[in-house]
Every structure is written in C-alpha cells, then in structure tokens.
Symmetry: C2
Subunit: 281 residues, 2 copies
C-alpha cells in the first residue's frame, strides 16, 4: 500500500515536470459527441504548427480515438525510447505534430476499449507522465463526450491549463448538453477560451440556397446567455467530412472555403486570448 | 462490509424482479456521439407505442441526458410512490411512454454531472432496481457514447437483453468508432439486432440535388464487412432537427417524409428480429 502511494507520488512528479516544459495547454471539450471536437483539435493543431509553433496532441478519447485518422497517421506506432528511462515516444504527424492516442496501441479496428473509469484515469496519467513530449509551445487535449473520468482527470492533472475550447452544434439538444459542460468548467474553476459553433448552416453547392440542417446560432446564444466569448461559426461543408476521412486537415486542403476562413478566425481568437492571459500574469 | 454486500445482493434481486416483468429489452448504442442514438431511441419508442405496445425508456446518458427534451417532457419530475416501498415513479411521456432520465433530477440547465464511473454505475443500478416500470412490452435503453461504465453496467445487469441497435453516421471516422462498439457487443456476447445508418445523404429541398454531407453508405459497408444485419438508412432532414428541438418525434410530425418512412422500415425490422428470436427460444 505504502509502495503504491510512493509510486503514485513519483508519477505525479513526472507529470508536473513534463508539463513544465509545455508553454500552453488547451483542452477541447463539448460534453456532447459528434459536434466536431476532434476535427477542431486536428485542424487547430495544424494551424498552430503552420505558424511555427511546436505542437503536441493528446487524444484523451479512450473509447473512440479519432485523432490519428484525422491527421493521416493511423499507421503510426508508439515506441519506447532506447535510453534507460523508458519514455514513450509520440508518433510524429504532419508538420512535426507529436501525437499520442490509444488508437496506436489497438491491434485491430474492431478491438473495443471496454474500460471502466479507473483504467481510463490510469491511461491518461501515463500519457502525461511517461510520454516524451519534450519542449512544446502547445499541448492540445481532445476530450471525449461527457463530464466524467477523462475530463476530470485531465483538469486535475493539468493544474495550469490555459483554457478550454467549448464546441457545440447549433441545435437546442446540443446546447442543452454543452451548457452542462460549461457548468463543469465553472465548478472546476477552469478558464474558458470561448465557444465554437460547428456545423452551423449549410449552403447548397448547386443552387446556393441556405439551410439550417442542424440549426444556426445556438453557440452564439449560449455565449450571450452565459457571458462567454464567442469564437466563431463554422458552416457545414461536405469537404470537411471528406478531408477528415482522407486524413487531411481541411484548412490545408480547402484553405479557400468559408469554413476554413471561419476556422482561421477561431485560431486568431485563441492566440489573442493567450496573449491577454500572458498580459495578466 | 457484510451489510453492504447484503444490500447489493438485495438490489440485484430487485433489478431481476423488475426486469422479469418486461418482455423485451433493447439498448441503443454507437460508441460514437452525435450520430442520433437518442433521436432513434425517442422515435422508436413512439413508433412502438403507436402500435399498442407498453414502452419504457431508460436514458442511461448520465452526462448528456436528452430523452426528456426529445419527447417534450422536460418539465416532468420523478416522484416517489406513496406506498411503503419507496419506488421511483417514472415520468409519463407521449402515448404513455414511461421515462426515467437524470435530466429530471438536475436543478438547472447548467448543472453538470461530474461523476466518475462508480457513481454512474450506482445511478444505473438504481434506475433498474427502484423504478416502478411495471409490466412493459419494451424497455429501450439509450446509452451514452463510449464503451465504458454505462454500457458495461447495462449489459451486466440486463442479462437477457434481446439485442443492441447500433447507430452510425456514414463517415469513415464514425465507422472506425462504431466498429469498436460492435467489438464490444461481441466480446460481451450480446446479440446485435443490426446497424442503422443515420444522417445518410442530403437532398436539397430547393433544387433536389443530392449531397453526401457526412458521407453515404458507411453503415451498409460495416454491415457487409462484419456480417451484421442492415436495418436501413435515414437521410439527413432539417425537419428531424427542428422536431427534436420542439420535443416532437419526427415520425409523428413529418410521417410522410422519406426519413420517417425509412425509420418505419427500421421499426419493422426490429419487430421481425424479435419474432425470429421468439421462434428460436
């Protein structure tokens, strides 16, 4: 028992030492699934790397890891460093982005991850304690839906997190779930960078008519209601889904689309937020 | 310790007594979030109730409960029966559907449910042990994304579950996650009713052009690859989202749409599956 305690304390120390070498830590949360958390994370990582930052992505979605697919590195394997300290070496993605995901460790596409909370907590702790993240400007953490073990573990381990990006789809049903996720960040006293409204409206590529397939304006509404910065609306665009399936961030492949432009505005707002935070501290 | 064990055994007995009065138990799973599990559950409940069945819905999505919103009963409150046995009385929804959801117990829309696995397991156990479900033809269980504590608890408690409906969106990223959820049912030896492909294709209401916004055919592909019955494709329809936001099942409000018709075919296949199961036993 005492040995186990000591082991935990040492792991905690390793987590804090590694995190100390990472300038900014951001988590991408929503509470709701299928609103584009992972797509936002992957594209944000690439946008930041394009600007010259050193970026790492921790895929904390244990049951449904999709970051490797979205960044086109599903063939990657996590290895152990040859030096004595048994570090896990992250997979290197586009523009040198360092990626850690459970997807790299699963033997086949059909292998389920049937883990209860404590197993998931242990995995996340290890991903922070034993991965050779090195010196980074940004660590982005892609969180699964819900406000349970995974986000709770991340918030408790990354004590100096810069902030959370909250992603929502415009529908009322999404808003309902996302509001609770905002409550989660408030209860835990974690700063919110702001809200991104994803899948907002659809313009028919043939006739130009606009349809609000999943609604429109829901993210903006929450932002006003709860007094949280609004980072932007990203419209539905079939090419986002196609690019995601191809493992190619759409802000690279389709940089000229309204969706990519809206996304780059989100990135600028994130940078501005971090500048202001620096000004304050 | 001994007392706690005894208490657990008694609770387990209550679960099995209650479940004994329910003819069919179905769970709606996906692994992935935002593919329409709750929408399928709500509409399936109404379709079955329309056919004269007595239906109950257990919303097992602890962090993001949406069934009350989708069935228009968010104002409902769970009460305790006045008889001595302290049963929880479910909220009655449209067509007498009995509904239990954590949403009924949360004081405000912003209240997050920050629970680790063991708390969620306890809540689900209680929803099965202490709710006055009564005699039902169907209990539908709406599961959250992932293959962790909630689905695991449900599969372990409902030992004679008739089957799982697997919902997917057509994109490759969804398929990847859903395949793991199929692996989950296989590992646990739980029968699969089949796959529903939701959000499949979009027809422009103005010009009639068809777009595969989130892809098309992904569910069918998994069904062929893994040898699982295919229950049908439900196209994207803005009215589904609007009806969901209004708390009105779209198969009632927009019964004549291709989406509603596709959905009714899914319902028929579910009934046929259950008939075949009965034939076998």
């Amino acid at each position: 028992m005492e040995e186990r305690m000591k082991e935990m304390q040492e792991q905690e120390k390793r987590v804090q030492t590694r995190l100390g070498k990472i300038r900014h830590k951001l988590a991408i949360l929503s509470g709701k699934g299928g609103v584009g958390k992972s797509t936002v994370t992957a594209n944000l990582a690439v946008a930041l790397a394009q600007r010259g930052y050193r970026v790492g992505v921790l895929d904390a979605d244990i049951h449904g890891p999709s970051i490797p697919k979205l960044l086109g590195v599903r063939e990657g394997k996590l290895t152990t460093s040859r030096t004595g300290n048994q570090e896990i070496v992250p997979v290197e993605g586009p523009l040198g982005i360092k990626i850690v995901s459970l997807d790299f460790l699963l033997p086949s596409d059909e292998t389920p991850v049937i883990w209860r909370g404590p197993m998931k907590m242990a995995a996340i702790r290890q991903f922070l304690a034993d991965v050779a993240w090195g010196d980074l400007d940004f660590l982005l953490v892609d969180l699964p839906p819900g406000t349970g073990d995974e986000p709770l573990s991340i918030m408790q381990l990354i004590k100096d997190i810069d902030g959370v990006l909250m992603i929502t789809a415009p529908s009322q049903v999404s808003q309902l779930v996302v509001k609770r996720a905002i409550g989660f960040t408030r209860e835990l006293n974690v700063p919110l960078v702001g809200i991104v409204e994803n899948m907002s409206g659809f313009i028919c590529p043939k006739c130009g008519a606009e349809f609000n397939i999943l609604g429109n304006g829901g993210g903006q509404k929450i932002s006003e209601q709860l007094g949280i910065p609004f980072l932007g609306k990203i419209p539905i665009d079939q090419r986002i889904c196609e690019d995601s399936d191809d493992g190619m961030p759409f802000i690279v492949k389709h940089a000229e689309t309204p969706a990519a432009k809206a996304f780059m505005q989100v990135v600028e707002k994130v940078e501005k937020y971090l500048e202001q935070q620096r000004g304050r501290s």
